[in-house]
């Protein structure tokens, strides 16, 4: 079934500022250069968005990814009607709710209940609609007695609850989400996600901006990748994320790739090698490959009651693997270690190894080498989970 198009963007160009400003500059220059007669050089103004076209249908979720300053927020603002497009056409069908700047319009001296009225009005509700929805909103934000206290006493998470709760009941057809919900505790965050899933099932379409690639892959039907205002790719989430990761991958030899050493114990890491099961140096880790790490730790003095940790982290610094070896007593001098990881099945991407020694009851004091080594994994395609174990998955009983 072909769903109706709710968002249509065609040949959108966006530049910030009053459109007459360049003319004023030129006029100023003309007057100023009456004597010097210098030619006028038009200053290059940056484009926030260049020639962007796409459309979103009812029930669809479009992800928007890109580095900082790539035009993601500008796009959301243009769709929200807050800033006008310079060229091109933006057509929206239905009520829009921009879930950006959720606390906009809140007066901190007023109580939460008083602010709900204002937020509702700002989000396009009429007095009648607000009256009907008020119990639901109050129920959703779970603020209880806090609703009668001034907002200045709220924590930032509580303010977000207030903003989200009002927005959730606007009956929007188009939702613009800009990573705002990352505030608030996990329980409320999950509640928001559930509510968004529910709205999607009702036919709301969403435009979603986030830097959390795993979530994007899970939530989005298509992903738009932008860089410096230029749309680079629009389509399969897997492909878009892979392209994005290539974009943000630090350049060879840059600081973001070099090892970072923190050492309170007088330890030296040396001769770190990554090999496969047959003993060859490993370049690319394929699904099901073994990975063998060997390394030397050169100690200047004896260490007691310590733990040696080796972890493998993805680009977002989430440890996919964390292996520990308790060390009751480790003598000064050269100690050699070997860690054999069997049949790894990780996602596509670049991984870093971290080697650390924790001493005593306080973790992360002692010795630590971040990004001691890196390894490129050629992962399982279309994998959303961080890890893909050896598995058998089939229907074992059917009618």
């Amino acid at each position: 079934m072909k769903q109706e198009t709710l968002v249509e963007v065609e040949g959108l160009w966006k530049q910030y500022g009053f459109p007459i400003t360049p003319y004023i500059h030129r006029l100023k220059h003309r007057v100023g250069s009456l004597l010097t007669r210098q030619p006028y050089v038009r200053p290059e103004l940056p484009w926030a968005i260049q020639d962007l076209s796409f459309s979103v249908r009812r029930g669809e979720t479009l992800g928007i990814i890109g580095r900082n300053g790539s035009g993601k927020s500008t796009l959301l603002k243009t769709l929200a009607g807050v800033t006008p497009p310079r060229r091109g056409v933006v057509k929206l069908k239905g009520r829009i709710f921009p879930m950006i700047e959720l606390h906009a319009g809140i007066h901190v001296e007023l109580t939460g209940a008083e602010n709900i009225r204002l937020l509702g009005a700002l989000n396009g509700l009429t007095q009648q609609e607000l009256k009907e929805k008020l119990p639901k909103i109050i129920d959703f934000c779970e603020l209880g007695p806090w609703l009668d206290r001034p907002v200045r006493m709220y924590s930032s998470g509580m303010v977000v609850r207030l903003g989200f709760a009002v927005g959730a009941f606007v009956d929007a057809d188009i939702l613009l989400i800009d990573e705002v919900m990352a505030v608030g505790d996990t329980a409320f965050y999950n509640k928001c996600l559930r509510h968004l899933e529910y709205l999607r099932s009702l036919g709301t379409c969403m435009l979603f901006v986030s830097h959390n690639m795993n979530k994007m892959k899970r939530v989005c039907d298509r992903i738009l990748l932008m860089d410096y205002g230029v749309p680079l790719f629009l389509g399969e989430p897997d492909v878009a994320v892979a392209k994005y990761e290539k974009l943000i991958r630090p350049k060879e030899g840059s600081e973001a790739l070099s090892a970072l050493v923190m050492d309170d114990l007088g330890v030296e890491l040396d001769n770190l090698t990554l090999t496969s099961a047959d003993g060859n140096r490993i370049d690319i880790l394929n699904p099901g490959d073994d990975l063998i790490l060997t390394f030397d730790l050169n100690l200047s003095e004896m260490i007691e009651d310590a733990t040696l940790n080796v972890s493998m982290e993805n680009m977002e610094a989430i440890p996919i693997i964390w292996e520990s070896l308790p060390l009751e007593k480790i003598k000064a001098g050269l100690n050699r270690f070997r860690l054999h990881l069997h049949q790894l099945r990780v996602q596509n991407g670049l991984y870093f190894l971290r080697i650390s020694i924790d001493v005593g009851q306080y973790a992360r004091t002692g010795f630590q080498v971040t990004r001691a080594a890196q390894i490129q994994a050629q992962g399982v395609p279309h994998s959303i989970g961080l890890y893909k174990p050896e598995r058998d998955f089939s229907c074992i009983e059917h009618p």
């Binding site: 959108l12 160009w13 009053f18 091109g88 056409v89 929206l92 829009i96 602010n115 009005a121 009429t126």
Partner: protein, 270 residues
Amino acid sequence: MMAHTKGVYQSTGRDGGFNQFIFLVTSLVLREFKGQYRRAFLGPIWALIKPIGYMMVFIFLRGVFDIKSDGAPFALFTFCALVPWTFFNTALSRCAPSVVSNGMILKKADIPREIFPIATVGIALFDLLISMIVLVGMLVWYEAPAFGWNLIWLPILILLTGLMALGMGFGAALIATVRRDIVFAMPFMMQFWMLASPVMYPLSQVPERWHSIVVINPMVGIIEGFRNVLIHGKAPDMDLLSVSIIVTVVVWVVFLPLYHQMSKYFSDVL
């Protein structure tokens, strides 16, 4: 090649119409009115303190300079002028920063940008209503012949003052988004304007050679109109009032379309 067409934004979502607009304005006015006095011990009484304070100063100055008051009790004479003036002053000077200080809302919601100066004048109207209570008390106390048919002029004069402040407020708010100078200049300009208006003195005491300059001040017609209606129980002077009306029409014709056009870009420049 980029198409050299103007950008188009179409949305069918805004269906609230006029009711929604009114709800939004009243919500904004209520927010500001409640919010501004909530932490103040004296609360809305502050709306009275300003005109009463000026009245005290003027009573003192009258003793120094021997100012006439066209036969009316001086306190009533000057308070009748201070009420519309304070309304005009509060409305206009608060319009200037109204867009800048609501930048957060501008960057989020697609609401008519005219709403901010409109709500600002609405808040000033609340203050006016509070000071009217004192004015009514004084009119009764001095047994002024205000309570007759001519009282019908009063809401018209208040409306005219509000519309004039709003028209100028569109201009001031617009300028303030680009350059903040007007926000700093506003208190001084308004002080100057008040001294140039017959608030403390009667128009009749202005020397003949200054007359032509004084009457182009659009506040003269409104202030004298208030006095005519409240102190003398007669209709406003139409010659003076027509200046106020013309100025109001001119500022609306000039500033409203300009404001409307430029306001699309407010979120870009804030």
